[in-house]
Amino acid sequence: MIGGPQGSGVDSSATTFARTCASGGLYVFGKREYHSNIKGDHSYFQIRVSEEPVRSHVDEVHLLATFDKETLEVHRHEVVKGGAILYDPSLFKPEEIQRPDCLLIPVSYGEIIQATAKQFNREKDVMKLQIMKNVISVAVSLGLVGFDFALLKSTLEGIFKGRRAALAPMNIWAAQQAYDFGAKNWQAKYLHQLRKVSVPSGEKRIMITGTTATALGKVVGGCRFQTYYPITPASDESEYLESHPEFGITVVQSEDEIAAMTMAVGAAMTGARASTSTSGPGFCLMVEGIGWAGMNEVPVVVFNYQRAGPATGLPTRHEQGDLKFVLSASHGEFPRLVLAPADLEEYFYDAIDAFNYAERYQTPVIVLGDKAVANSTQTIPWYDLGGVHIDRGLLLSDEDLAVLVASEGQYKRFKFTESGISPRSLPGQKGGIFWLTGDEHNEVGHITEDPDNRTRMMVKRMHKLEVAAREIPIEKKVNFFGERDADVTLVSWGSSKGAILDAMDVLKAEGIRANFLQVHMILPFPTDFVAQILSRARRRVNVEMNFSGQLGQVIREKTGFTMDASILKWNGRAISQNEVIDGVKRIVKEHESKVVLTHGT
């Protein structure tokens, strides 16, 4: 774990450490926590490294790197016995740290920076060079755990390139001093060591965050138009797309989320695959536009990276409180698909699927992500595009449109069909003129308040959801892990997946057999499959990052099954592997029916 004031480079030092480990074949999971503040407030980054795949964070800290007072004061009690604490001896005396059971490593940041400045004739820039505390803390840490310095060096060369290439020699020199200090003076005394492992030939891995995973999925999925209004934690995705104009995506920063939504809908009507990304407060403003798109059968994709609400809530913290809101957002009723990706692979592939579903069923698709995955870093396999395909649904070519008009006399945008899906023309196409309106309308798209038409049009639109339920394969809707027969069946959605999967192995070793049902698609809801699993479950437990167990409620509504117990957390911090283990034990061994988790800083 590394911490420091916001804006002091905590993220980049954590990323440097993570990349270095990952380049040595280790698996990495990183969790980022920060305040709603530009500069000065405490932020920290937790990196978990392993020779086996890791998908979550743990509560114990084995190595705490600090260069300010606050990080040490806030986190020192999270360090395990025998763990190491890096501290600045100009800020603390060892006894003030009050952790005699830990390896206390005084890192004289100031001295190393002075020496570096002298070496590179930059003595007058010493103030500017304070940022090198980050590199120094990373290098001492890697020396301490005995990791290969050459990997750190190449990571730094990868970071300091192009315009910043001139900074590379100085940073590498400082890193070498710091690394040697850690390796020579402390490595032998430290229990936890990391070594490079070989990667199976042909295996390629990337290290990515949730917002970038979504952005790249959108690129592959053919997104041509993205709108956004700045909001944490969603903006990173749009900014990534904006900073890569080579993908050819038009990115528009709008005046508010109402415009973000309606601009995306306007673009989608012309045939461009269009989307917008936001968080809960922005989603609130988008609701009227989503309803309009549902009424007019416009294929548009909306990402909601949930954060703690209501109102501004905890603007930079995690929660899964928007599920029931998103399922019914808007007055009136219209069909919508709601996907809930849970990890960095699902974020990528769901972005592609979302556009396909939107065009196939001609209706809004909402992807419900969350802050935990949005800001998490993880090593995952290079994305395989082998099975990826684009499905544009009933989009009419000029030729097909001409044939249709010739046979039917007039093009009808909302023609009644068996599936409820009508062939779709695009503005500019001759013969395809349509009218759209937020009012109820007839097949051509003109306003009508005729009761029979209303009855049929509602059936037409809502039926599309039934068609989607039938057509979309079950493996896109749920994931089931573990043996069928188990002591406890965990049911969850979204980012808790990683912690649950990591916890299952530990639970098994401790004699508790758990299996796990991940609900990936919330609408159309995989009712039969979920009911079948739950009917055989001995103990049904929903694990959710919200107050009221919203998925549990949805499951009860859809299947009639109630949960036997719940593991819930709403303190703004994502669930850890330990917390899942602890929660399951309390339910299985102590028969608690509701476990409220509260860990996290």
């Binding site: 891995r205 690129v219 041509r224 601009m263 045939g271 269009a274 395809g432």
Partner: protein, 327 residues
């Protein structure tokens, strides 16, 4: 093929009140499009919500009747995704200057090449005559329980401050003048605001057709008397040149803006119509083309995203993945 106004008409039932100013605006739109020989399938007409917002249903082009106040962002999205279309956004005074005021201002920052026409009658007709943002303070129409307590905004002055590059006012009963203004607004390369004074005969019993045209009725005898019309055309007044001839000449720009601002304040005995201000500046589409080079060859709407025969996506992310590769 010769296009006539009739080619832009639909047979959809029109439910506006008899004598509504909207009829004049509708006719002017249809005639303007016909005279410009714009193929109906190349035009995308947007509206917000209100009586006026039914207009697209009466025009045979691609039409989109959106949400209250949101005509502009819908239209902007469509125009940016397919700049080859002629996009016209229609708003109302409550719709565009009230609930949609944020979009009215911020669209001014973008100079998207399209026309925004606002049907301005001072009242919310469809909800039975409440005061809109353009009704003057202390005016009491028949439908108001008390005189209007709010001040009115001046949409032309707001548009000037917001960055609109073509600012004009039309009058619903000046068919020819309105037609010409619509055409000028469409032809203007950039964002054009055309505010149209459009009397509501049912609810705005103050700013009526007679009022605009200087006709006074003797309440006792019912006899009408023509006085001086309030409405006049700027082009008929000598010496008013709205056009900035050299957009790089900041002094000329300031002068023309000041002139337009002062002219926009004129109300009461004399109400000017016509073009108040016009400047030629790079459009938002120009700026996007510089950033996203794919836009030089394609529109977002027609950019190929896959091979239709196999369904394989054609956008390559291998370089981006290589940047993220760790081992």
């Amino acid at each position: 093929m010769e296009l006539k106004a009739a080619d832009y008409k639909t047979d959809t039932h029109n439910d506006w009140c008899p004598g509504c100013g909207d009829f004049g605006v509708l006719n002017a739109i249809q005639q303007a499009l016909a005279e410009m020989h714009l193929p109906p399938e190349q035009v995308f007409l947007f509206s917000g919500v209100g009586c006026f917002a039914k207009t697209p249903h009466f025009v045979r082009t691609y039409g989109c009747h959106t949400l209250h106040g949101r005509s502009l962002p819908f239209a902007v999205g469509a125009k940016l995704a397919n700049p080859e279309l002629t996009v016209i956004s229609l708003g109302g005074d409550g719709d565009g200057y009230g609930i949609g005021a944020g979009h009215f201002l911020n669209t001014g920052r973008r100079n998207v090449d399209m026309l925004y026409m606002v049907f301005n009658n001072g009242v919310y007709g469809l909800t039975k005559g409440q005061a809109s943002p353009t009704l003057k303070r202390n005016v009491q129409t028949k439908s108001l329980p008390t005189p209007n307590i709010n001040d009115a905004i001046n949409p032309l002055a707001v548009a000037l401050a917001a960055g609109y590059t073509f600012i004009a006012r039309g009058y619903a009963y000046d068919g020819k003048g309105l037609r010409q203004l619509i055409q000028a607004g469409i032809n203007h390369r950039g964002l054009a605001l055309l505010d149209v004074l459009q009397p509501c005969p049912t609810y705005n019993t103050v700013n009526t057709k007679d009022w605009y045209e200087g006709i006074e009725m003797n309440e006792e005898t019912g006899v009408k008397k023509s006085l001086k019309p309030r409405i006049y055309r700027l082009e008929d007044e000598t010496g008013y040149d709205p056009v900035v001839h050299n957009p790089d000449d900041l002094e000329e720009v300031s002068k023309k803006m000041l002139q337009a601002f002062l002219k926009s304040q004129e109300w009461g005995e004399k109400i000017p119509t016509g073009v108040f201000y016009q400047i030629n500046l790079p459009t938002f589409e120009d700026r996007l083309k510089e950033r996203v080079s794919a836009r030089q060859k394609y529109t977002p709407a027609n950019m190929p995203i896959y091979d239709p025969a196999t369904g394989t996506p054609n956008l390559d992310i291998s370089e981006a993945l290589a940047e993220l590769r760790v081992c």
